[in-house]
């Protein structure tokens, strides 16, 4: 065990924070949460800067625009950018944090060459079309059909809760390519250009009052078969690669930001019961940061332990608990969201125990895959 970072890691951190100091003043004014045209531009402009400076996709292969750096440098990047209040990944979430990493592992050379550099440079925004009205937790029950017609698939069906669907160029979509196989064995993972004819996107208003996700209707959409990632009907395995990233490293930035929010609230918290609760939130986030470092250490040696499966569940619960404290401490000041980041966060984090696999599903997964208990019906 060693807490200190290597000299080269520290040099990297110092370079990065110098660079952030010079860049961030130009990104001080984030657009309104529901102004999607500006949000896309703002988030992708930032991504482009990160890319040009050589900090995008640090642990992705150099060949595709990454830096072949260690996971530790990637961790330092998340830590320093969040501490410096750099823009959040925003609309680049799907591309940089789970679709891209899935392509790195599973894509063909052509697919990687076409998409990875564009994801990193902010030229290509991705969305995720996994969930359907009747396939949420039971994702493998999805019904969107893909039928072969020559060298194309023809897609028909409906997706929902598609975050960034209305601003995305490309989507990672799950479709059923075999109607007769058992449900986990008839799925394929496709790269779907979102401007193809037959795609209709309808934004959905969320509890925040803005449109964070969309319904996507697919009517006779023709997609080249070469857009498939992995073998036909082997999409469930590829999906698990995507979910590993979505539920694993994707939360690091948020976690660091949670520590900042705790510190921001600290001066307002006077009541001893609330102080203790603040201490607990800080302890939870500190421990999750240690767990994240432990998971990264294990990913370096290849000895992956159960911790990586616990982070999402533990973080969601800790963050919501902190949100309750914010409401209580702010009292009647919590009744307006205007200029009130803590309360906006309280609402937003309601989604943490639902999105990317509800907490009940995470508990099923931990009890089955880590503890070896009998499996749920599936």
């Amino acid at each position: 065990m060693e807490l200190r970072y290597s000299d080269s890691d520290e040099a990297f951190r110092a370079r990065l924070s110098e660079w952030l100091k010079s860049e961030l003043p130009q990104f001080a004014n984030a657009p309104h949460r529901d102004d999607w045209e500006h949000r896309r531009r703002f988030d992708t402009d930032w991504q482009k800067r990160v890319f040009d400076a050589g900090y995008a996709g640090l642990n992705w292969p150099k060949q595709y625009g990454g830096a072949d750096a260690s996971p530790t440098e990637q961790l330092i990047f998340f830590e320093e950018t969040t501490k410096a209040k750099a823009p959040y990944v925003g609309v680049n979430f799907v591309g940089t944090l789970h679709a891209g990493p899935t392509l790195v592992e599973e894509g063909t050379a052509e697919q990687k060459a076409e998409h990875l550099p564009r994801i990193l440079s902010g030229e290509e925004v991705w969305c995720q079309g996994f969930s359907e009205p009747n396939a949420g937790s039971d994702l493998a029950g999805l019904a969107t059909r893909a039928e072969r017609d020559g060298d194309h698939y023809v897609l028909n069906g409906q997706k929902t809760w598609c975050s960034f669907g209305h601003v995305a160029d490309v989507g990672e979509f799950l479709v059923r390519t075999d109607q007769n196989a058992p449900k986990h064995r008839g799925i394929s993972w496709l790269i779907l250009p979102m401007d193809l004819p037959g795609i209709e996107i309808r934004p959905i208003k969320t509890v925040l009052g803005s449109s964070e996700f969309c319904e996507v209707f697919l009517t006779d959409v023709r997609v080249p078969i070469s857009n498939r990632v992995g073998e036909e009907n082997d999409g469930w395995r590829v999906t698990n690669v995507t979910l590993k990233y979505e539920r694993g490293t994707a939360f690091v930035g948020e976690l660091i930001d949670s520590l900042r929010l705790c510190a921001d609230l600290a001066n307002t918290v006077k009541d001893p019961v609330d102080r203790r609760e603040l201490g607990r939130s800080l302890a939870d986030f500190d421990a999750l940061w240690s767990l994240t470092k432990r998971n990264v250490s294990q990913s370096v040696t290849g000895q992956v332990g159960p911790g990586s499966m616990m982070v999402k569940l533990a973080y969601s619960e800790a963050r919501q608990r902190f949100g309750e404290l914010c409401l209580r401490v702010l009292g009647r000041d919590a009744l307006s969201l205007a200029d009130n980041e803590l309360i906006e966060e309280r609402l937003r984090t309601q989604a943490l125990t639902i999105a990317a696999g509800a907490s009940q599903i995470q508990r099923n997964i931990i009890s089955e895959r880590v503890l070896g208990l009998p499996r749920e019906p599936r």
Binding site: M1, L3, L278, D284, D286, L291, G305, L371, L373
Partner: protein
């Protein structure tokens, strides 16, 4: 930065585990702490790790295993005092002393000083029916004349004591999870293992999650003791002690629930683990005390 066990630490962990599982099974533990047990642990090097060139992180790994086996006795106190004598180490404000019949030294920590109690002339009334049957307790009205022990920093002792106690509690949680998962796989009701019922699976998943989070915090605190130049020592210790003690108590309660009526019996080890967790929560600051301290660092 590396927050996992090194190869040497894995070997250390396996070594101590092999020793404990060979000689410190449930029956032996239930016979209680005695001089022979102390000597055996001392011979294995448990109390002299630091003098033998091991790190505090290594000590954490050893104490985690002692917790896994619920080994009784004033282990942390003896470790702090150098391991030559069976030693109790307490906050000066306490009047309840554990294992007094076995103690060869009793040391009190106040804010600034470290004081040795004159054990030979100490009047103590042993209390019936201790909460933890393997931790006998006695009440002391007055410690009498004490001797100042120069050259020891009480703050340092409290910090180290908190981390080792947290490590021990982590071991308690870890074993409670293991016992409960095993029971849930084997106990049948409604013609199926109770571990197939979601209410039980989710309880177990939460136990495992809390234990893994506590583990990361405890290892982090151990590593901090070895790296005094890295900022954040006192907070890391409080995070570890608070989360590890709380996890052990909650795992103890959940393990009782998973075991049903068996969990309420003397025969099943669960109660010994839970009771030890309650005892250790009173050592070197309770989880509430440490949460409060974490808030002070914000």
């Amino acid at each position: 930065m590396f927050l996992d066990l090194s190869d040497d630490q894995v070997a250390l962990q396996q070594g101590i585990r092999a020793l404990l599982s060979g000689r410190f099974g449930s029956e032996r533990i239930r016979a209680g702490f005695d001089r022979e047990m102390f000597d055996e642990l001392a011979d294995a090097g448990v109390f002299s790790l630091i003098a033998d060139g091991f790190s505090w992180a290594d000590a954490v790994i050893v104490f985690e295993q002692l917790g896994e086996f619920c080994v009784p006795g004033p282990l942390v106190g003896s470790f702090l005092a150098g391991g030559e004598r069976i030693t109790g180490v307490y906050a000066e404000s306490t009047r309840t002393i554990e294992h007094i019949a076995d103690l060869e030294a009793l040391i009190l920590l106040d804010e600034e000083k470290v004081l040795a109690v004159d054990l030979a002339n100490l009047v103590a009334e042993s209390l019936d029916w201790p909460l933890d049957p393997l931790t006998p307790v006695a009440r002391v009205a007055d410690f009498g004349e004490t001797t100042l022990l120069a050259g020891i920093d009480p703050v340092e002792w409290r910090q180290r004591g908190a981390v080792l106690t947290a490590a021990y509690c982590l071991g308690l949680s870890s074993r409670l999870c293991e016992m409960s998962v095993a029971y849930a796989k084997e106990r049948l009701q409604f013609d199926r293992p109770i571990g197939s019922f979601q209410a039980i699976k989710h309880l177990l998943a939460d136990m495992a999650m809390r234990t893994e989070v506590a583990r990361a915090a405890v290892y982090n605190a151990g590593a901090h003791l070895d790296a005094s130049d890295v900022a954040g020592l006192t907070r890391s210790i409080s995070v570890a002690k608070a989360l590890a003690c709380e996890a052990a108590i909650r795992c103890g309660k959940d393990a009782t629930q998973v075991h049903g009526g068996m969990g309420y019996t003397w025969e099943v080890d669960v109660h010994l683990y839970l009771k030890r967790a309650w005892v250790l929560d009173t050592h070197f600051g309770s989880h509430e005390h440490h949460f409060d301290h974490v808030a002070e660092t914000a």
